[in-house]
Amino acid sequence: MNRRVVRAVAAVSIALFASQAAAQDVLIRNAKVHTATAKGTLENSDVLVRGGKIAAIGRGLNAPGVQSVDAGGKPLTPTLFGGVSEIGIEEVSGEESTVDSGLALGAGSKDMQVRPEFDVTLAYNPASVLVPVARVEGIGWTVLGAIPRSGGSIIGGQGGIVRLDGSMDPIGARMLFVNLGSEADGLSGLSRAAQWMILDQLIDELNGRIAPNSHFAKLTPAGRTALRKYIGGGGRVVFRVHRAVDIVRALRWSKKHNVRIALIGASEAWRVADQIAAAKVPVLVDSLANLPGNFDQVFATEESAARLRAAGVIVTFSQGGDDQSHNARKMRQVAGNAVAHGMSWNDAFDAMTRVPAQVFGVSNQMGSIAVGQRADLVLWTGDPLDVGQVAEQVWLDGRAIPMKSRQTELRDRYLNSNDSGLPPAYR
């Protein structure tokens, strides 16, 4: 173990200790508990939290001395998945200096910089105003994606999971992000065909068929180490890809090199759903994306999630629009619209909770309401997948978080006029 790894492990331990120390005990009584487990939905049930973890679920639980909250029969869920976003790695999209989501070391030159070692989670700012904006809406965690951009390569780099609890470090394993298709052809010599050529060359470099000091070599030593982890059954590689035939090629490539992949975007995935299901490849779709935005997405449909699920595909969601970070809260609408277009409510709900936790390898600690899980919970005014309802209270590690954000502060400043005669800045 090298020194860098030791230091990283130490940092994680400190973060865990700190959050556990702050965790509270709480008894949430009389809730409609959507467990996101085989137990399904439990009416009029209680959830007991001790030490930040779920200690018991049942009716008529008793916990003397523990603060209790009456849910009044309203829905209680795990915190929801925010999709793949840039929460905390961008503040204002239009201001370059606040955006850290992509790497462009080669910008302005023709040299492609392939840097799978790039880890975007190192840019994460837990104090970003986007964090409370998302979490007061019941979004408890998100996957930070590394986004390929001009001056980089089709390999965006590594991302990871952050919980929106103010902690600095990601949890779980990193995942590698790769963009395919027409949206990335500017990063692959203007042809999607070159995307496979480049990916195959990187495999050759790992296998020593191209020497590290060859002028053809694209990887740094750290890049080889990083990439090697994802080949041969290691970590998860997330391909952002839409066209059906590109998806089939991705399935073929991943099988050949024994790579565990997931698909994001995937507007046309439903057309090859059986093959995706057979390969057990999870798909992150956007149920609101039903227009042929380009020639890779001619068959986009709101029924995508339902059709994939019907074929047995593992389905979860991520937004495909412009603002999956500032408007991560819109994920509920994405899921609700999947239901409106044929997906079962339970499948859509699982796709916002348990399924992404499984896909990204953290289901042992979150994504469902079960004994031993982190007490990351949300009490809702009503159906969490309906935009007509809102989150009433969010708990992270059993701590009731303040239901405030910069937006609620702005709102409250202008909600009521004051009599002082002073400008709003004094409110």
């Binding site: 840039e86 961008e90 503040e91 204002v92 999209s93 239009g94 201001e95 955006v99 989501s101 992509g102 986007l130 986004i147 951009r149 059906a244 035939v245 089939v248 057309r271 090859v272 609101l288 994306a289 039903n290 227009l291 042929p292 935005g293 380009n294 020639f295 997405q297 001619v298 068959f299 629009g321 412009d322 603002d323 999956q324 970070s325 500032h326 408007n327 809260r329 819109k330 509920r332 609408q333 899921a335 609700g336 619209n337 239901v339 409106a340 005014t381 997948l385 309906d386 935009v387 007509g388 309802q389 809102v390 937006q407 609620t408 702005l410 709102r411 409250d412 202008y414 909600l415 709003p424």
Partner: protein, 461 residues
């Protein structure tokens, strides 16, 4: 994310509108030259229809009323009756709508369908004449591609009328056009007969960004640009209106601006910040035009009283924020805080091919967030944000936007309350003709572009 730049260029550039009931006194010269004549006239004709009696529905009239177990009769393309237990005409097709909700057709005051269509090809980028900052001479209708598949998806969401605007790259971007959302081969066949044009203006960061290298590159440069343009137009208008003056060669830029000064073309202004909206209001007074609506207006909640007092609509998103500095102060209660002021005109708009399909859901978000802060909003009130209020800002509220006798029979039947993630439009009528039926493929229009794309069935092997 980086996509915002393109998206903003495509969409969020629009801004203000002016509207205008009263014409400025300076413009009322004796001759009254018609700056708003239409050489590209509407050829719209209502599609074939039959009388339809919708029965036993929850009816939101768009005038603030709700009728439980209500009936709506559509006849000769018009709303013929609204109420309880209407008599059944011999020729009427009956729609039993128990458990369904009926609303006026949805109206979007801010769309770029057709001018930034799907697929978003370079060749389709027709929304911003970003070659100089002041281009009132361009007309969005001349860019509209009627085959944009987005028209059909918007129709499936109950959108019956929309204003297509130029983008927001320019200080003055050109004329917007109001369309009836019917499938057509030409835009003239969609053009809402007699609807006034909108003039699209933009303040703030978009023109600054687009013209950074040649100017305007600052907000003060923006304002100087508007002032210079309107000063020219005022002189032009005076000259053409003066008695015995032939007027000389027409100037297409000044034709449009004079139309705005005259009150014939309604001014719609893309503007985010409260301070900038205030500047634009002063500008409108300096030159004597009326602002119909501020679009986007992320900070409208800070000056809600002022907007109401000036009679300016706020065309707003339910929750967009943060994609640029001037959008940093977005809150989810913006619409509700504008709406609660007496005499106000709150509108939920889309500026998006996705959002236009779910304006009802956008309104639902506003209701939910308003409720959270103790502002109750009824469905019958909220529906006006996406029906009558946009119609008012567009100057078509005498003809559509509510279910009142004699108005165009632009009507949506929903599978339940429209204010939900699960709400779907089941039937859509435009001028009494059924133009969409969710359960009948033959009444679901499909763009020429999508035709024949699916001949290779079975997908890739």
């Amino acid at each position: 994310m980086k996509f915002w730049v393109a998206a903003a260029a495509a969409c969020t550039l629009l801004a203000a509108c002016t509207h205008t009931p009263t014409k400025p006194s300076t413009a009322k010269a004796t001759k009254s030259f018609n700056f708003a004549e239409d050489p590209y006239p509407s050829t719209y004709a209502a599609l074939p229809s039959r009388s339809v009696l919708i029965r036993h529905a929850t009816v939101l009239t768009g005038t603030g009323e709700r009728i439980d177990d209500g009936d709506v009769l559509l006849r000769n393309g018009q709303v013929a009756a609204v109420g309880h237990d209407l008599a059944v005409p011999d020729d009427a097709h009956i729609v039993e709508a128990n458990g369904k909700w009926v609303t006026p057709g949805i109206i979007d005051v801010h769309s770029h369908l057709g001018v930034y269509p799907s697929p978003g090809m370079n060749a389709h980028s027709d929304g911003n004449e970003a070659t100089q900052p002041v281009t009132p001479n361009v007309w969005a209708e001349h860019s509209v591609w009627p085959q944009d598949p987005g028209f059909s998806t918007a129709l499936a969401a109950g959108v019956t009328t929309l204003q297509v605007l130029p983008g927001s790259a320019n200080l003055i971007g050109g004329r917007g056009v109001t369309l009836k959302n019917v499938p057509a081969t030409t835009y003239q066949a969609m053009k809402f007969p007699g609807a006034p044009w909108g003039l699209k203006m933009a303040c703030g960061e978009n023109p600054k960004r687009v013209y950074a290298s040649r100017g305007p590159s600052t907000r003060m440069g923006n304002v100087a640009g508007y002032r210079a343009a309107f000063a020219d137009a005022a002189e032009y208008m005076k000259k053409r209106n003066s008695d015995g003056e032939e007027g000389g060669k027409r100037d297409l830029k000044n034709d449009t601006l004079a139309g705005a000064l005259h009150g014939d073309i309604r001014v719609h202004i893309h503007c985010y910040r409260a301070d900038e909206m205030s500047t634009m209001i002063d500008l409108s007074k300096e030159f004597g035009f009326k602002i119909a609506a501020f679009h986007h207006a992320v900070e409208a909640y800070k000056i809600a009283d002022k907007l109401s007092k000036e009679g300016i609509c706020g065309a707003l998103w339910a929750d967009w924020w943060g994609f640029k500095m001037e959008a940093f102060d977005g809150i989810q209660e913006n619409v509700a805080l504008v709406d609660r002021v007496p005499g106000s005109c709150a509108i939920v708009h889309s500026d998006s091919a996705e959002g236009i399909q779910r304006l009802n859901q956008e309104a639902a978000k506003v209701i939910a967030n308003a409720r959270r802060v103790g502002i109750p909003v009824t469905p019958e009130h909220a529906i006006q944000w996406i029906t009558l209020n946009p119609a008012k800002s567009m100057g078509i509220d005498q003809r559509t936007g509510s279910l009142e006798v004699g108005k165009m029979a632009d009507v949506v039947i929903w599978n339940g309350s429209p204010f939900s993630s699960y709400a779907l439009a089941e039937h859509v009528y435009i001028d009494g003709a059924e133009v969409y039926d969710r359960s009948n493929k033959s009444l679901q229009p499909k763009s020429d572009f999508l035709l024949g794309q699916d001949l290779m069935t079975g997908g890739a092997r």
